[in-house]
């Protein structure tokens, strides 16, 4: 009773223990929020540590590059005073000799050479050779002696390159993956056309992805329509044809296409049997039997096959929700079948089309396995070049810079997808 007396009679609604209801509710909601966050936390922490942080560290390599700064510390300091026009002073050469002796002792000359070689091709072997010979130089003046070892040290451009790469951070990798380069004075220009190769890889990746997306839409839309409008029993049988490939591993499907596309294989046989080969020969598009393996054609066909369910299923699930009465209404109001379909049915399917096409386009950008197996050297996409930069060239800066470009493109599209479709409404199978 003491409790009840303590309660002021001010018209505020209260919980059983006397706290105002508003406060009690806020407290309960806060507790509920904390519980919800506690449930999400383990996975969130796991994803941050095993996935997000590794990727951020990797991408950091696109601009972080201490190879020259760490291994030529004295030269870097001495070059600060250099005007960048003539061959540097004796002071710079003395620092250079000291650095090279140290680098030779620590077996770092190859690393320096490799780094400088990215910006000045052909210098790698000269750096390594100089490193070997520099040990014999033990007294000043060094300038003429070093130039005597290799003429390359007598060119201001060499020193400009060293000076440019002497910072721990460099825009070099990202710029060069966009076919741009930095001049000694810091301005940015296009590289000469004969060395501009990376933009074409980017364009190729976008082009193949776009073509595959369009093909999956053209092939998938009618299938989704029929699946959504057929009676349940027929639809579930047809669905098997879509879902079985969807559930079959990407590698298995790529393998299947590799087997079918081998020269003289099943696909070529089918083209021969149906007269397609004969027809293509007739119109002059082909000379003899087709060679399909390791071509752009094989890459696009295999990728279209793999991505088709990804485009089709979101369209199907939107079409399922469209009531057939709309079409009947359109027709009864005098619309021709084609006109009603185009103006009444198709607009309602657009959310599904956007979802499916965006998903397919995003996934296509990252393709590596399929082009690597059924494509030729000119069909490799960005992912393939990232793999090669690491496994064959051991060039982390390049791999990371390509990664930055690929990830930026993907995340922009992911953002659009999230705004347009909503990630929480994504459905599988």
């Amino acid at each position: 009773m003491a409790m009840a007396q303590a309660l002021p009679n001010d018209g505020v609604m209260r919980a059983a223990d006397g706290t105002p209801l508003k406060v009690a509710l806020a407290r309960a909601e806060r507790r509920e929020k904390l519980k919800a966050m506690a449930l999400v936390l383990p996975l969130f922490a796991f994803i941050i540590f095993s996935f997000v942080i590794p990727i951020i560290i990797m991408l950091y390599n696109a601009v972080y590059d201490p190879d020259v700064a760490e291994n030529m510390p004295q030269t870097v300091v001495a070059l600060k005073a250099w005007d960048g026009k003539d061959v540097p002073s004796e002071e710079v050469f003395a620092a250079f000799v000291a650095d090279m002796k140290e680098a030779q002792k620590n077996k770092q000359t190859a690393l320096i050479g490799k780094r400088l070689n990215y910006e000045m091709s052909g210098i790698r072997s000269k750096v390594v050779a100089t490193g070997r010979k520099v040990a014999t130089l033990d007294q000043a003046p060094y300038r003429e002696a070093v130039i005597g070892i290799d003429k390359v040290w007598g060119e201001p451009e060499t020193w400009a390159t060293i000076k440019r790469s002497s910072s721990n951070y460099t825009p070099f990798y990202v710029l060069s993956m966009l076919d741009l380069r930095q001049n000694p004075d810091g301005s940015i220009e296009n590289v000469p056309p004969d060395r501009a190769i990376y933009k074409s890889i980017l364009v190729r990746t976008l082009g193949i992805s776009l073509l595959v997306t369009v093909l999956t839409l053209v092939l998938g839309y009618p299938v989704a329509y029929l699946l959504a409008t057929s009676p349940q029993r027929t639809a579930s049988i047809l669905m098997i044809f879509v879902l079985l490939p969807f559930w079959t591993s990407l590698l298995v499907r790529t393998t299947a296409w590799m087997v079918l596309m081998t020269d003289g294989g099943v696909f070529a046989g089918l083209m021969h049997f149906t007269g397609v080969t004969w027809f293509l020969n007739l119109v002059g598009l082909l000379n003899g039997e087709p060679e399909l393996f390791k071509t752009r054609f094989a890459t696009v066909v295999a990728m279209t096959h793999i991505q088709l369910p990804f485009t089709l299923l979101p369209i199907y699930s939107v079409m399922k929700t469209i009531s057939p009465t709309y079409m009947r209404a359109a027709k009864s109001l005098g619309g021709t079948p084609f006109y009603s379909f185009l103006r009444v049915y198709v607009p309602q399917t657009l959310p599904g089309v956007a979802a499916g096409c965006l998903l397919t386009f995003i996934l296509c950008l990252g393709y590596y396995i399929t082009p690597a197996i059924v494509g030729g050297p000119t069909d490799q996409m960005i992912s393939g070049f990232i793999e090669r930069a690491i496994n064959s060239e051991n060039n982390w800066g390049k791999a990371s810079a390509l990664g930055v470009i690929l990830l930026t493109a993907t995340l922009i599209l992911y953002y659009v997808y999230n705004k347009l479709v909503g990630i929480d409404r994504m459905k599988l199978g």
């Binding site: 994803i47 095993s50 990797m58 298995v252 793999e387 992911y414 929480d424 599988l428």
Partner: protein, 276 residues
């Protein structure tokens, strides 16, 4: 499949044209998978029809050559560990996400789903560098952790989808009847969201079981998984054993698909929206 009587001639033509077109697309979808299967019984080591003879030798190689059978074992080990980890972490997170609105929920969801969207090559290269610093490259643990990160989005998505139709008052009913939170979860929530959990688990299993690129970077040469063995087999020397492996994998995915379809029908029946 009769055309409705009121169709115009144009509509009738379209009706059949669409059906023929769809039949061809479905043929395109299914035929590569079916066409590769008979070739695994070829007695010669080339990939053309007609086959000169019938042989089981590629299956013998697949099941008894330690390179292949070891890879199969490794794949199952990694995939099962990944499935358990991913299902546990993903289900908890999905329960949390469905429970209440909290700050930055949409962003957190986007981050949790991102391993599915980020190109695998980027994940693989990043993990390679980071895991190398922690001595996890070349270990099974490293592969399992990496695959778990890639597989959890599928669990989060499927369980979230199931929870969206889950009646939350049931949890309160359980609690008001005196059940502890874990009892409510195991006796009330779990039986109802189990179909979602199982399909999420299947997705997680398949994600790990089919994954090549991460394994390409993280696996030690003697600890190859089945997809890696296939991939390097294709690059080095094409042996028809690959077609036998592909056939076995297609059978496994068919079994998965049937399980999933049965689950879907069961849950639809339970909700009283059964077809037919």
């Amino acid at each position: 499949m009769a055309v409705p009587a009121y169709y115009t001639r144009g509509e009738t033509v379209m009706y059949y044209a669409v059906r023929v077109f769809v039949a061809l697309v479905l043929l395109f979808l299914i035929s590569p998978i079916l066409a590769v299967m008979p070739l695994s019984f070829n007695s010669e080591s080339f990939f053309t029809y007609p086959m000169p003879g019938f042989s089981l030798k590629w299956y013998e190689d697949f099941f008894f050559n330690p390179r292949w059978s070891g890879a199969v074992k490794m794949s199952f080990l990694v995939a099962i560990a990944t499935t358990i980890l991913a299902t546990a972490l993903g289900t908890l997170a999905a329960l949390g996400l469905a429970r209440a609105n909290f700050p930055a929920k949409a962003t957190i969801m986007a981050i949790l789903i991102s391993p599915m969207i980020v190109p695998v090559i980027i994940s693989a290269v990043g993990m390679f560098k980071f895991y190398a610093a922690m001595d996890l490259v070349g270990t099974r643990l490293g592969i399992i952790l990496a695959h778990t990160a890639l597989a959890t989005p599928f669990v989060v998505i499927t369980v979230t989808a199931t929870l969206s139709s889950f009646d939350k008052t049931l949890m309160r009913a359980g609690a008001s009847c005196g059940a502890a939170p874990h009892t409510v979860f195991f006796k009330v929530v779990m039986p109802l969201i189990l179909p979602g959990m199982i399909s999420g688990a299947l997705f997680a299993f398949v994600t790990s079981f089919d994954e090549v690129i991460v394994v390409l970077f993280l696996a030690s040469p003697e600890d190859r998984t089945l997809p890696l063995q296939m991939f390097s087999g294709i690059r080095e020397m094409i042996s028809p054993t690959i077609t036998a492996a592909a056939t076995v994998l297609v059978l496994i995915s068919t079994a998965m698909l049937i399980t999933l379809e049965m689950l879907r029908r069961r849950s639809e029946r339970l909700r009283g929206v059964a077809p037919n």
